[in-house]
Symmetry: C2
């Protein structure tokens, strides 16, 4: 199968490595606007060839958009317009409502399977690509009833082959959930990095930064070209998540400020319950009847 | 040398493992109020014997208090009163001003070397003890001019033997710096865990929690018995750090809410500068003339 990947960074490059290894792809064609990334991707064997968009779509069976969400929004209608009639298009964007809205009435809407594979690192570019990056992780597929069944099946098959389970939800549910579980932690880490850098001598931070500090601000190393448009596309839910977070920080601050020892202890003990979530081993939605979200495991 | 460790949890237990391995300790006597921890520590070979406080101090050359900071505050004057005349006492508490204040006029003040080895994990108890936990990390020694030179030398020798560099600062400087670099990240993680748990179905968090979420809230798994008293003892500086953090979160929220794209990009790009601090390899204070803090490397 001919697979065209638009954007050969961390996510596009890692997908390429897995899709070659599993032989799901017989040929990987890359589209990459950065000359440096294009050269690096060829050198690393991530893509077999790099072409301009038009020629890269001409013989594609499957097209994956692995570029920042503002670029997906811009390019997706054009990509749908240029693919062969039966080709499938999917993407990896972390925000989905605006993209779904942009192609709602596109004549090839059924060819598109909106996806969000939830895996990554804080690094970027083709050299950050890793084999098995997606193994054991979840991909969200949105608005599956708007996808043609063959296109949905092909995208599902690909995500299963690279080791992922699939959660189905609407674009709206995905944007709300990821606002809390992914976008908020990134905003929290960026603001923490800014707060500490605004107050402390960089040399002191450098020397005193223990493992705890490092893990909490790790996400602040994430690429601005990826995250800036995510916060903008998912602005209302991210603002909501930040409001909730600020409220909880204020409760924490007030409990300390007012010497309210019992309340402070209650807040800490409630927080530590996250342990049972984080230390669990198996996906739980499959056993769960409380939510609309359905899980499809390998 | 006979070393008595009061508290055989993560930090006390890890110290015991290293002090035995380096043969700095010929015998390790433990003091442990939890029967379960005491049994476990003996079984794991962390301590050679467990005694009551009085008998445990009687023949000690070096005493280490590795208990929560409220317990250090309570016990330190009594420990100083009961040790042999030439014995050295040190501790591992993460807040220092209140403890320094409590023993300021103690007749044995010179025997005490206030220390804060900056290493740990989010787990607790003797079974969480790890060899080499402190290797390559920094320990802060406070108010070194108030320590007797022999006592200071012995504590320094011990921290160097287990692989640590030493930063010297006043109790006040340590409480301010750790408020930003350690206490704030813990408060941020606890509040983030509370925020997400307040809004999201636990099953959804569980399934969608990617590596990014996990690392950002990891510290929220930390023991409340250790952290509750730290926030209380360092209350003014922790409140100050939380105020600064909330202000930076509000700027982030407002930039998103108001669609101020350039300002949002600026905030993200400033935050990503933390990379150069986090990805550095060597301690920097030794080359630094801007701060009072001095570093003593192995």
């Amino acid at each position: 199968m001919n697979i065209t990947i638009i954007g050969l960074g961390l996510i596009g490059g890692s997908l390429a490595l897995d899709l070659k290894k599993t032989r799901f792809a017989t040929k990987i064609t890359g589209v990459e606007t950065s000359k440096e990334n294009a050269d690096e991707a060829l050198k690393l064997g991530i893509a077999d060839e790099i072409l301009e968009l038009g020629p890269a779509l001409k013989n594609a069976d499957l097209v994956i958009l692995a570029i920042p969400v503002d670029k997906i929004l811009e390019l997706l209608p054009e990509v749908l317009g240029k693919i062969p009639e039966n080709a499938t298009v999917t993407d990896v964007g972390s925000a989905k409502r605006k993209i779904a809205e942009a192609v709602k009435n596109h004549p090839r809407r059924k060819n598109y399977v909106p996806a969000h594979p939830m895996s990554g690192t804080e690094y970027s570019g083709p050299s950050a690509a890793l084999p098995d990056l997606f193994k054991g992780k979840i991909t969200i597929i949105c608005d599956q009833n708007d996808c043609g069944p063959q296109h949905l099946a092909l995208a599902e098959k690909m995500f299963h082959l690279i080791g992922m389970d699939i959660a189905y939800m609407t674009s709206d549910e995905q944007d709300l959930s990821t606002a809390f579980v992914s976008h908020l932690p990134h905003a929290a880490a960026y603001a923490l990095a800014n707060a500490v850098q605004s107050k402390e001598n960089r040399n002191i931070i450098f020397d005193l930064a223990s493992g705890g500090f490092r893990s909490t601000v790790r996400l602040a190393k994430s690429s601005s070209s990826m995250w800036h448009p995510i916060f903008q596309q998912n602005n209302d839910y991210v603002v909501e998540a930040l409001e909730v977070y600020i409220k909880h920080l204020e409760s924490f601050r007030d409990a300390i400020k007012n010497g309210n020892s019992d309340e402070l202890l209650g807040l800490i003990e409630n927080a530590t319950k996250i342990r049972s979530i984080l230390d669990g081993e198996n996906h739980s939605l499959i056993k769960n009847e409380e939510t609309n979200v359905k899980l499809y495991t390998k």
